[in-house]
């Protein structure tokens, strides 16, 4: 990723003076109008491409184009720009940009991919401005630019003890040519990057200011809710006469298989929706979770499967094996259940469409709207709000399109709201998946053969065939089978790896045990083999994986502690490396998870506060769903509808978490997902150590070792 001159789109004197520097934030993530703790009136000149501007008062405004979903990008991006600019962080103001595909590239929040893609671009943006400010000062002082330095919003000429603020220099700097090349800092000289910086939205979040989609209000807008069919059903008839007469109800409209209630307040609409009399008819196979259990067993034994990776000759390896280890692992569907349910504002007018709300993919929302209405995408505007979590759910635009449909049908501005029950039952879920692993050991306990089959419901490829230990085993076969179902699925935080990592890392623990080897040493030996004698392509960095393994083992004093049972797990996903060690003690005959150590290698850590919370939050999320998360179906209808029956982890149930980072100057990678996948196995392997029982199915709470534990 190299920023080119083409990225610096525009330079101009801002209205009222000041420097405006345009650049493309390719592949960013994060958004929402927000001002950091300095408060400060916004600098003039808003309305260019993605840019940074400096006002004559020295206020630095950074426009943030991408959706903020809690991953902290809205704080992290400006830190990178401010670092290379040598800005005074207390003078930085961050503002949310609307969707604008002409000015920005890929306004998306997803895949932990924004930081790696934008790192160099953002640095160059800051460095370019700094260089221009330096040149402006050098000109004024009539000294060589090389004699000038910068610090906290000032250009300094130490020899003559002179200094000028960025605000004073902004207008002059803006008249200079954009330099063709700029020098970036040595990461060892970073002053801001790697420090602890608070969420730029704290002042608004902590005082209850309107920030989120659900908070958006437009004079004259109507509220809407939709009754959707369960999976596999079709709308037969609806009797809405009584509902239309209820107080505050404006209309009841039907489209496709949906019945939408539109009215003047959320509560009136909710009551009316609950009172609808609807007849549904069976349209498809009505699936139940019990059918899926049976189905998985059939698919695991199926002859035909899609081969994902094949190295060596597995049949021969298993035939001559001294020992064969096998195990199966299964997970249920999970709703994303971000705490802010799906919602969106839409106003379909004759001249275009206005959309406002929480989305991880505003461009998709716009394009699907244009397609639905048969209009040009440039007739659709999208304003981004901060999101009350997403976890992948808001990568889809289904709820945006619903708002558009209803607005069009009732010819009014509409805010569409999903209740929690709608969110849990009408959603798109983490696919249910089952894995079968087999390992062949030779007489010395070396793993010489490895087989994995993944079967899943609307899961696509349920394996990640190039993951460790691929590359370290001479004979390997990884394949998958997918079952198509009316139950909709979608990307759920750390797609596929959120459960696959648990299965793989639990299985490796079982293999190590069968081979009579220490689980950490077993993995290190495999890595050493991958390095010395690689088999096929290796798509992970062996040294970085070894680095996190060793750091975690050192910090947790692996194998040296008395009185606790430790379990190990390591995973490379979404470009970062994370090793975890869980520690379990027995209390009244039941395992209690006391602590999790995490060692992460995500390259340069941009913000200690944000990075530590992402790791900790991922661990809480990973453990919580592994322990309790379970969404089951009966004839196409989800059996859990709200948090009374669908259990999320709570504060009293969290272990201590200790986070360590590998110190290096490698370009940074994202942290929104990578610490989640390894969490489940660190816990399960520790529980095995403590109880001798393997946990192979999620949620753990329904397994024998936890029976009787509330």
């Amino acid at each position: 990723m190299t920023a080119t001159r083409r990225d610096f789109l525009k330079i101009a004197a801002a209205a009222g003076g000041g420097l405006l520097l345009g650049f493309n934030w390719a592949e960013s993530e994060a958004a929402t109008t927000v001002v950091n703790a300095a408060g400060a009136a916004a600098a003039p000149g808003v309305g260019f491409n993605s840019y940074l501007s400096i006002s004559p008062q020295g206020i630095i405004t950074i426009l943030s184009p991408n959706p903020e979903v809690g991953q902290g990008i809205k704080t992290a991006f400006p830190i990178i720009v401010a670092e290379e600019l040598d800005a005074d962080w207390t003078k930085v103001v961050v503002e949310q940009a609307p969707l604008d595909t002409k000015k920005f590239e890929r306004q998306v929040a997803g895949g932990s991919g924004s930081i790696p893609h934008s790192w160099e671009r953002l640095r160059k943006a800051g460095a370019t401005a700094r260089q221009m400010l330096t040149e402006a000062a050098a000109k004024r002082w009539n000294v060589p630019a090389a004699e000038c330095t910068t610090d906290k919003g000032y250009v300094l000429h130490t020899a003559s003890k002179r200094k000028l603020s960025y605000g004073e220099l902004a207008t002059e700097a803006s008249q200079l040519a954009v330099p063709a090349s700029v020098k970036l800092k040595d990461p060892n000289d970073f002053k801001l990057i790697g420090t602890t910086i608070k969420n730029v939205d704290n002042p608004k979040i902590l005082t209850g200011k309107p920030l989120f989609g659900l908070d958006f209000y437009r004079e004259g807008m109507l509220f809407a809710m939709i009754q959707r069919p369960a999976f596999g059903y079709k709308l037969k008839s609806v009797d809405s006469a009584a509902v239309k007469a209820m107080s505050g109800i404006v209309d009841v409209v039907t489209y496709d298989n949906n019945v939408a209630v539109v009215g003047k307040s959320t509560w009136q609409v909710k009551k009316a929706k609950d009172a609808l009399k609807i007849e549904w008819e069976k349209a498809d196979n009505l699936e139940s979770s019990t059918d899926h259990d049976r189905l998985f067993k059939e698919l695991l034994d199926k002859k035909e499967a899609t081969v994902r990776r094949k190295d060596g000759d597995v049949d021969a390896a298993f035939k001559s094996a001294a020992k064969v280890v096998s195990a199966e692992f299964q997970c249920p569907f999970l709703p994303h259940s971000p705490l802010e349910p799906m919602n969106f504002f839409a106003h379909v007018r004759p001249d275009g469409v206005e959309l406002v709300g929480p989305t991880q993919t505003p461009e998709l929302a716009r394009n699907e709207t244009a397609k639905l209405l048969g209009i040009s995408p440039d007739k659709v505007t999208v304003q981004l709000t901060r999101m009350g979590g997403g976890f992948g759910r808001r990568l889809k635009a289904d709820y945006v399109i619903e708002a558009v449909q209803v607005s069009k049908l009732v010819n009014a501005p509409v805010k569409l709201i999903w209740t929690r029950e709608d969110d849990m039952t009408g959603g798109s879920y983490r696919p249910a998946v089952r894995y079968r692993f087999e390992a062949a050991l030779d007489a010395q306990g070396n793993m010489v053969g490895y087989k994995l089959r993944g079967v899943g419901i609307n899961s696509g490829n349920s394996t990640r065939e190039d993951n460790f230990p691929a590359g370290a085993v001479e004979n390997l076969l990884i394949d998958s089978v997918e079952h198509k179902s009316p139950i909709t699925t979608g990307a759920w935080r750390a797609p596929i790896t959120n459960f696959l990592a648990f299965a793989e890392q639990s299985f490796l623990d079982e293999v190590a045990q069968a081979a009579g080897k220490d689980p950490v040493q077993f993995r290190l030996d495999l890595l050493a083999k991958a390095k010395q004698k690689p088999t096929g392509a290796i798509k992970y960095d062996i040294d970085r994986m070894r680095g996190v393994i060793e750091l975690a083992a050192e910090k947790a004093q692996w194998g040296k502690k008395k009185g606790v049972s430790q379990g190990f797990s390591v995973y490379f996903s979404h470009r970062s490396y994370v090793a975890q060690i869980g520690e379990v003690v027995m209390k009244q005959g039941k395992p209690v998870l006391q602590k999790v150590y995490a060692a992460a290698d995500c390259g340069v850590v941009i913000n200690q506060s944000g990075a530590r919370q992402q790791i900790t939050g991922c661990i809480v999320d990973g453990i919580g769903h592994a322990m309790y998360g379970n969404l089951t179906f009966k004839d196409g209808v989800p059996e859990q509808k709200n948090y009374d029956t669908y259990r999320l982890i709570r504060l009293s149930e969290i272990p201590q978490v200790e986070v360590h980072f590998v110190q290096n100057t490698i370009d940074p990678t994202g942290l929104g997902e990578p610490a989640l996948p390894p969490a489940g196995a660190a816990v399960a392997n520790a529980i095995f150590k403590a109880t001798g029982k393997r946990l192979r199915n999620q949620p753990f709470v329904e397994e024998d070792v936890f029976k009787g534990v509330s």
Partner: protein
């Protein structure tokens, strides 16, 4: 529909709504006090927590007709300018991830500290465990309550 007069954050409000309307929706839809959040509607998540006469209550299951002359405090009225010790502590510890649950967390913590200025770890856990945070900021919530307890909540 009936007319309800409410005392919220020291000010007088009135709304013409169905008597069974939860306080949550009156705050949000009628008064524009959107800091109080909807998460579940069935008293499970705590996102909608406000104070009624100083006690933390779940506004999603509190019909407006049950408020009477009770004094309601929402996140917007906890302090004039975000300087309540709990808000300060939340910023110092940098608790929010997505931030959606945090108003409810803060209101729950503020009510706890008013009743119990120096809570034990067990008391903090027992109270705060009623509020869900889907992002998993629980460690920081715990820490921030401790920090706030050193600041003197009135």
């Amino acid at each position: 529909m009936s007319l309800f007069k409410l005392k919220i954050n020291g000010r007088d409000y009135q709304a013409d709504v169905d008597p069974d309307t939860p306080l949550l929706w009156v705050l949000r839809d009628n008064f524009g006090l959107v800091g109080t959040k909807y998460g579940c509607g069935i008293a499970q998540c705590g996102a909608c927590t406000v104070h009624l006469n100083g006690e933390a209550v779940r506004s999603c299951v509190m019909p407006v007709s049950a408020i009477g002359t009770g004094k309601v405090t929402t996140i917007e009225g906890l302090s004039k300018d975000g300087t309540h010790p709990v808000q300060q502590a939340w910023n110092e510890v940098d608790v929010p991830q997505c931030g959606y649950c945090q108003a409810g967390q803060i209101m729950t913590a503020a009510a706890l500290l008013k009743r119990t200025p120096k809570p034990t770890m067990e008391q903090i856990d027992a109270t705060m465990t009623g509020n869900l945070c889907r992002c998993g900021t629980y460690h920081r919530i715990r820490e921030a309550v401790k920090v706030a307890s050193t600041k003197g909540v009135k």
